[in-house]
């Protein structure tokens, strides 16, 4: 099977600070991959490069054989770790906008998922609670039939009930032929859904393996192994 996402000798420098150092990765289709590491380890930088909103200093990135740009953005669904919605827009208008710009977006699916939140579609985004805003952002991303879903810290800063909702939404709604790349430092919450795990620290990949292999070889859970590797 061809690699969906490929990074070859990718490095990124912010001034003199080395954010990524010679990163090599190959990820195939149909996997849920955890990008795991401590804060400041390079997860968000790597993700920004993959989704095409940051340019690497060195190396080559390809998604389905194409370098990140306007073409890949049509099949990569990205959930940033920031609030990216225009709070003056209504929920309905935001869904229409997604449908207008992304050919793979399903308004029907978005409205179905939104019914769980029990918020009126005409209400403005600024009237939503922080938790509901995050859920809406996730719904918008997961309502796309993308080839690669890139989710940056989707469960950080939300209560445990909301975490369950978010993980359930991800598992039940992603295109099964697609790959989901989830960045997080809350390993215990996501471990159960991961096919592969990548450990990243100081901009370098420490480990990339199947989740089952890590558990079998190390004789512990990924969460426990993560704590061991990244202990202060």
């Amino acid at each position: 099977m061809l690699d969906l996402l490929s990074l070859k000798a990718v490095s990124k420098k912010y001034g003199i600070k080395q954010a990524l150092n010679n990163v090599n990765l190959n990820i195939k289709s149909g996997k849920i991959v955890g990008l795991l590491g401590p804060n400041g380890g390079g997860k968000t930088t790597l993700i920004k490069i993959v989704v095409g909103i940051l340019k690497q200093t060195d190396g080559v990135v390809t998604i389905d054989g194409v370098e990140p740009g306007d073409i890949t953005k049509s099949y990569v669904a990205y959930l940033p770790d920031k609030d990216f919605l225009d709070e003056n827009m209504s929920i309905g208008d935001t869904i229409s906008m997604y449908a207008d710009f992304y050919n793979d977006f399903s308004s029907k699916k978005a409205y179905e998922l939104l019914e769980d939140l029990k918020v009126p579609f005409k209400s403005k985004i600024k009237t939503l609670s922080k938790g509901n805003r995050e859920k809406l952002q996730l719904i918008l991303v997961m309502s796309r039939d993308a080839r690669l879903y890139v989710l940056d810290e989707p469960i950080a800063g939300v209560d445990p009930a909301a975490r369950d909702y978010i993980l359930k939404t991800i598992i039940s709604n992603y295109n099964k032929n697609a790959t989901v790349l989830i960045s997080t430092h809350l390993i215990a919450d996501v471990e159960g859904i991961l096919d592969e795990a990548i450990f990243i620290r100081d901009g370098e990949i420490l480990l990339h393996d199947m989740a089952d292999n890590i558990r079998n070889e190390k004789g512990c859970s990924i969460d426990e192994y993560f704590r061991e590797v990244f202990k202060c």
């Binding site: 909103i53 953005k73 919605l85 906008m97 207008d100 710009f101």
Partner: protein, 278 residues
């Protein structure tokens, strides 16, 4: 995709445009009521009423000029802030993840901004014209209205040298030149914001500094070009004020086009290679 971007940009900006239009209509009404109607009612026949009318006209003229300044400059500030918010703050994550070319992204911001600014400028001119007509009518009556308009138009056209082109061509020239100038200011604003986002802190302050510096540099270049032209232009033209003004207007337009192209190119480079989202 560019069409969709422009559509959404207008949708987001229409509220501010509406508020500006209502604000201008109200202030125009107030100025007419306060400054022109008393002259109409009291006339200018006795000292007390004339003094009162002049006082009210003066006050309303000051308020009016202030409001025009706020409307004109305020819209530019709004356009700059909106560009920052939608391109480089949280919403920027959405904007920059859209499957559209970067040229479309910039044009999708510039075109609606220029159109909105043109509409606001047109509203300001219309408001000014309404007050001018009202003032003229209350002062000299209907009989002299057309004469006063002709005088004003004549002065404006001959001073700027446009009369040499003919009224229709002259006004078209002024219109195009104004739109290019607005586009150039807006693109300079966008470039300053793009430069400001390169910094990790004090981004707004750095954007303002970048804008001031760029403006000073462009003004200096403009002054140098004017000086060179003044030296080079034939004496026969130098003493013909209107022809000289026309040459300068064409030069200003050319300079604005160059500024527009430079700012667009540098902004494109920054968005493509130096994007630094919050």
């Amino acid at each position: 995709m560019l069409g969709k971007l422009i559509k959404y940009e207008f949708k987001q900006m229409k509220f501010v445009l509406l508020v500006t239009a209502i604000g201008l209509a109200i202030i125009t009404g107030i100025v007419i009521c306060l400054g022109i109607v008393p002259m109409w009612i009291f006339g200018r026949n006795d000292i007390i009423t004339e003094t009162l009318a002049i006082f009210l006209t003066g006050i309303s003229a000051l308020i009016y000029l202030f409001i025009l300044f706020v409307a004109g400059i305020g819209m530019y500030i709004y356009i700059g802030v909106r560009f920052y918010k939608t391109m480089y703050s949280g919403i920027g994550y959405f904007t920059n993840s859209l499957p559209i070319k970067r040229h479309e992204l910039i044009l999708g911001k510039v075109i609606p901004a220029v159109i909105i600014q043109t509409i606001v400028t047109t509203m300001i001119i219309a408001s000014g014209a309404l007050i001018f007509f009202g003032y003229t009518v209350s002062k000299d009556g209907f009989e002299d209205l057309m004469l006063n308009i002709a005088r004003l138009t004549g002065v404006m056209l001959s001073d700027s040298g446009i009369r040499n082109l003919g009224i229709a061509l002259g006004l078209t020239f002024v219109g195009i030149s104004s739109i290019i100038q607005m586009a150039s200011i807006i693109m300079t604003l966008f470039l300053s914001v793009s430069v400001g986002q390169l910094f990790n802190s004090n981004r707004i302050l750095m954007s303002v500094i970048a804008f001031v510096v760029m403006n000073r540099v462009f003004s200096a270049i403009d002054a140098i070009i004017r000086f060179i032209i003044e030296v080079l232009v034939d004496k026969a033209y130098r003493y013909n004020g209107s022809a000289f003004n026309l040459i300068f207007m064409i030069l200003t337009m050319a300079l604005n086009i160059i500024i527009l192209v430079i700012c667009y190119t540098v902004s494109y480079y920054i968005i493509k290679n130096k994007l630094n989202l919050e």
